[in-house]
Amino acid sequence: MAGGEKISIRQFTVLAMFYTIGTTILVIPSTLASDAKQNAWIASIAGLLASMAIVALYIAIGRLYPNTTLAGMLEAAFGKWLGKLATLAFIFFSFVGGSAVLYYMGNFMTTQIMPETPIGAFIVLFGGLVVIGVRLGLEVLARTAEILFPWFLMLFIVSALFLLPEIDLANVKPIVGIGLKPIAKASLAYTGTATLPLVLFLMFFPAALNRKQGAGKALLVGNVIGGLFIVIVTYLSISVLGADFSSRNLYPSYALAKKINIGNFIQRVEILMAGMWFLSIFFKAAFYAYGFAAGLARLCGCKDYRPLALPCGMILIAYSLVVYPNVVYMMDFDSTVYIPYAISTGLLLPLLLLAAGLIRKKPGGRTNE
């Protein structure tokens, strides 16, 4: 459903990076710290390694079907009706994911920055932005990511540098005091939030890339760079805030930014650092919405997904107001339901897709390669 849109390898790398960082950077240090305590950063590295394996799976699928979108792949592998059913599963995944991200955004703003503004205001504004993005299309989103990336990088480097003096190494000791199981569980949470949603990139990967060569590498590189950002943030939040505080804080990165104090002059700059998360969360939300609109368009046989941007966005906004009734529910959902759900959509379905694709290709497909 790419509709002739083409993006470059570089743009794709940046998109994959932004998408990996997304909301992860804001919430994951807390989840990691609650499971793996002071070893949360090790868990994030483990998660990063696990992510690479998952990305390899997506790349393999991309190699198998270089010229079609996710919906096309599913139909080619499972047949028309089963394929449509599987597409529906992905559409639902992006729908839930998209509204959850919008809720995160609104919740972050109302709980941390502007408590008196109703959450709906933030969600509608941000949702409107997402609608504009999807409506302008993949190419524009990719170019936007390319322009905004240096700004994100600048904010990140500045905040990381400013936090260096605050590091207290006692907070990360003992280094292997926690068993393997909590680390495995924590890394699963990392993978579920950061990498498994990347399955939606199959909607345009690698069909919409102007060069197929190096496309897989781009996805991997984007994911790993994004993962490195998260590892750094996790390490900083454990070493500066301590495991206990990190795990009890809903948004430890934000609390982290509050700690910045350079010569009693540069301090309390957390709102400027928040700009960085607004960027990454925007791309996460935009690509969930893109997956929702593009998948729906494909399912209904529409030629273009762009006219669906506004209605899809409206549904997302409306649903995001009710997706989580409250924060307690959100935390409960994220730690119990979401991870298995993400695994089923982001890992099991693609595995099935790959298996079915390989079996189908075998008899006569060799010549295609």
Binding site: R143, F265, R268, G275, L279
Partner: protein, 516 residues
Amino acid sequence: MKNNDTKAEPIKEELKENIQKIKQDLGGSDDIIIREITFGKDDSAHAAIIYTDGLADKKLITDFILDSQTQKSYAEELDREADRDNLLEALKALALNLGDNKEIADFRSLYNAILSGETVLLLEGYSVGIAASTRGWKDRSVSEPVAQSVVRGPQEGFTETLRTNTSMIRRKIKDPNLWLETMQIGKVTKTDVAIMYIKGIVSDKVVEEVRARLDRIDIDGVLESGYIEELIQDEAFSPFPTINNTERPDNVAAELLEGRVAILVDGTPFVLIVPTLFISFFQTAEDYYQRADISTLLRFIRFISLFIAMVGPALYIAITTFHQELLPTQLLISLAAQREGVPFPAFIEALMMEVTFEVLREAGIRMPRPIGQAVSIVGTLVIGQAAVEAGIVSASMVIVVSITAISSFVITGYSMAISVRMIRFVIMGLAAAFGIFGIVVALIALVMHLCSLRSFGVPYMSPFAPFVPADHKDTIFRLPHWAMSTRPRLINQRNVNREQTSKPTKPADRNNQGRR
């Protein structure tokens, strides 16, 4: 449209009838001069000379056409031409020793010729006339460009005459590949519009596109290049200009050398340049005449100014309203003390001051020159000081608005500066409602909009997005000329190499050279 049909009528053989018709069609306008003359042996040849007073160069007409001495010599010459059928040819060859003349056969081109300043010669017994190029009218002389002045660089600007302008470009680029195409646009004004490009450097697709878009124009009049700009731009609804304009010939020459197309419109010194990138509005001709490091620094300053001009007041509003913790305590206290007596929220305060400033600026441009002093006094004293003392706005707000205003003047492209002024208000509104979150949302939306724009097929935000590494030698940075070896990649894909000058090196051994 009956009028149009009659105008396309062919010229008749009878001179009297032709003159009658011309007088009738032009409503007997006094500035159309029709002189009937007779010449040749025994005055056998009757002719009429028609021109527009004021548009045609009278001296030229007197010297070459009406001068009795010349006529006599022509007559002698003509006598030698026994064949009377060839009178017209002979006249064309001999009589009109003027730079350029052409035959016309119908009234439409006759009127067109006369009204563009040419002199038409009609002969009894011939159904064709001769139009001699005698264009010459009172014209503003070439002077310093007003809108784009420089410290170092040529001090000449375009004028209102198309021919003068094309000649100024020709003087800079003496290459046979510099091509010029002229067309007339405007059903009533019949304005000459010329496109200029360097064949071999320009992308043919762009030239084709420019031609096609100009051909599509169907309008009664074109009075300034702004008409053309609005009629051919890519995106109709965008605050950002996708076509640049300049009144500097050196600017146009530089753009032509980069593979762009210049659109010149008769009657205005502002020349359009396509395709235009966002970055073009932050570069000046002078960047290339100064040392590279200084130019780079100045470009940085321009970008900082863009940022201040766009989000300066918005940031002030957001910080004082929502994010007071960002400010150092001392500053916060002093700000709070200043704002103590101010009855309005920061947003209203900022809005008032911004609107006042925009009004002042508009007044400064529109009012008669001698009153200029009055506005500046009223502006600085009354609105600056008195408003603060009266407690209507805080002093810090005045500072913010002033810095914003000055910053917006730094943006070199005037049309871009105007859009920034406009967008500022939207961002201020979002900042008032959502603080920095609102500003970031506005900026993301802005970047997305900019990325969606194209100018004649070239992405507006290139070379940022799509990122073209080679073009960054001349984007924010301005590398020395010996390092800028390629032309902008997206504007032109064929003839990319610009130069092969190597980096200047020091003489091998200065001491030795000195001794010799």
